[in-house]
């Protein structure tokens, strides 16, 4: 009954939305800085992955390769600050 009342085209009374809407909202558009994972000195400690407040850093510790999800990364730079071997640079996001 709820799903019938909710449409993606129009707002509903009270702006009730179908579940899962937060995933569709690509909040990475707010970013002014972006991380660059150099993948040169990485020791696979996962500090970047664990410190990311958005949970959008992912990778493989064994292969010592990490990267970020540009759809949701806000460019906060915590990954770069926490990296013990300085393997992540923050650069200006330019479009």
């Amino acid at each position: 009954m709820m799903q019938k009342l909710l449409s993606t085209e129009k707002l509903s009374i009270g702006c009730v939305a179908p579940p899962g809407g937060s995933v569709e909202n690509k909040t990475g558009a707010w970013r002014s800085m972006r991380p660059v994972f150099k993948q040169a000195e990485c020791i696979g400690c996962r500090a970047c992955e664990l410190a990311c407040p958005e949970g959008c850093v992912f990778g493989d510790a064994k292969k010592k390769q990490f990267d970020f999800d540009p759809d949701y990364c806000k460019g906060c730079g915590i990954c770069a600050t926490e990296c013990p071997v300085d393997d992540i640079d923050m650069v200006m996001e330019e479009k």
Partner: protein, 398 residues
């Protein structure tokens, strides 16, 4: 018709609310509201009302509980005052935005600082813009009956907004007056059961108060404004139906008291109107063409009703229990806008007569009427009978 009993205002309200059969009540004690929630918790504990009474840690918690309960499809109620209402305010905007028909009472009380437990209207006026319907009672009977009306209007599918019944702290909450409680069978018939259009349900999930991007948010907010405006005829319709069912004219948008042929009209809301009516009667006997327009529904602002009630006046005085510091009155500019937009250039004077429970005796009302009758030109919103002798030097010398 039922029987009148001598009841304390707050307790009468609690019993009237119980007869509306809320399914969830959450409240936190604050003077002068406490007797409402205290009595309701007793009614629930005695098994006279089948409801969940949720004890909370604060008014923020109380408002959050009734938000959740209402979103889950329950008829929900809370009551508060002053600082409690302000602590609720963030949640109240959400309740209005999510279009949840929560009903609450505000036992109107001054806001700190300085600390005062006594009556003025600044607490309710501070949240006037959030999309909650605001009704103001003149006596305990109206305070009871307006709750029944509030539930009916709030839950109407053309409205779906929260509604707040205002009753003056102490002046109505703690006074003992002959009051007829709304009859249970009539209440049941009048209100029926609340059936939510959309509700939180784990089997059929949805997000309430969802995130909107700038391309949609304004429309979401405008819908609250639009629903408020569309509730005006519903309030009138429900008030008429209430009068037919219960035999009392407790609802409505405003009351004109000897205002039809009045040259001088006072505007006020709440229990102060009782005093004003007495002064109007006395001055009518002495030949003054004076009347009162009492605002019963303050939000939504009944523009057309106010305009037609005032159109024949030669001068108007707004008698307020609040003020917008650094600007002027709160109700006064709304009256001016209502007239100005219709090209009516009737002089309007604004007076803050009471903050923090200051008494305004009949001679104060008489003085205001006589001053505006003389055509006194008001330069600014006036804090009436301000005790200048109490004021320190404006710039303290250290």
């Amino acid at each position: 018709m039922g029987e009148k009993q001598i009841l304390e205002g707050a307790m009468a309200v609690a019993h009237a609310v119980a007869r509306c059969r809320p399914e969830v009540v959450a409240a936190y004690p604050i003077t002068p509201q406490t007797h409402i929630s205290e009595e309701l918790s007793q009614i629930v504990a005695d098994g006279e009302l089948e409801a969940e009474f949720v004890k909370v840690e604060s008014e923020f918690g109380a408002a959050s509980v009734v938000l959740g309960a209402s979103a889950a499809g329950a008829r929900a109620y809370t009551a508060t005052s002053s600082q409690g209402l302000l602590l609720m305010s963030e949640v109240l905007w959400n309740i209005a935005g999510m279009r949840l028909p929560v009903v609450l009472a505000c036992a109107n009380r001054s806001i700190s600082a300085p600390l005062s437990i006594w009556c003025d209207h600044q607490d309710a006026e501070a949240i006037r813009d959030c999309g909650i319907i605001q009704l103001y009672a003149e006596d305990t009977q109206e305070a009871c009956d307006m709750h029944v009306i509030a539930f009916k209007v709030a839950e109407d599918r053309r409205v779906l907004l929260p509604a707040m019944v205002n009753l003056d702290g102490f002046l109505l909450t703690h006074v003992f007056e002959p009051t007829e409680l709304p009859d249970q069978a009539l209440c049941d018939k009048f209100l029926g059961r609340y059936e939510a259009v959309m509700k939180l349900d784990p089997a059929d999930p949805a997000t309430f108060g969802a995130f909107t991007e700038p391309d949609k948010c304004m429309e979401g907010r405008w819908m609250v404004h639009d629903a408020c405006l569309r509730s005006l005829p519903v309030i009138e319709e429900v008030s008429d139906a209430f009068e037919k069912a219960f035999g009392r004219p407790s609802g409505g948008l405003l009351e004109g008291y000897r205002s039809d042929d009045a040259e001088t009209i006072l505007i006020a809301k709440g229990s102060l109107c009782g005093t004003i009516k007495d002064v109007v009667d006395e001055m009518r006997d002495a030949g003054h063409k004076v009347g009162l327009v009492r605002i019963k529904c303050y939000r939504p602002w009944p523009t057309e009703a106010v305009r037609s009630a005032l159109a024949g006046a030669k001068r108007i005085a707004v008698v307020e229990r609040g003020g917008s510091f650094g600007a002027g009155g709160i109700v006064t500019p709304e009256v001016k806008e209502t007239l100005f937009d219709a090209g009516l250039r009737i002089p309007v004077s604004g007076f803050c007569v009471q903050l923090g429970g200051r008494e305004v005796p009949p001679d104060g009302i008489r003085e205001i009427i006589e001053r505006v009758e003389k055509g006194e030109k008001q330069k600014a919103y006036e804090y009436f009978r301000l005790k200048k002798e109490l004021l320190p030097d404006l710039v303290p010398e250290v």
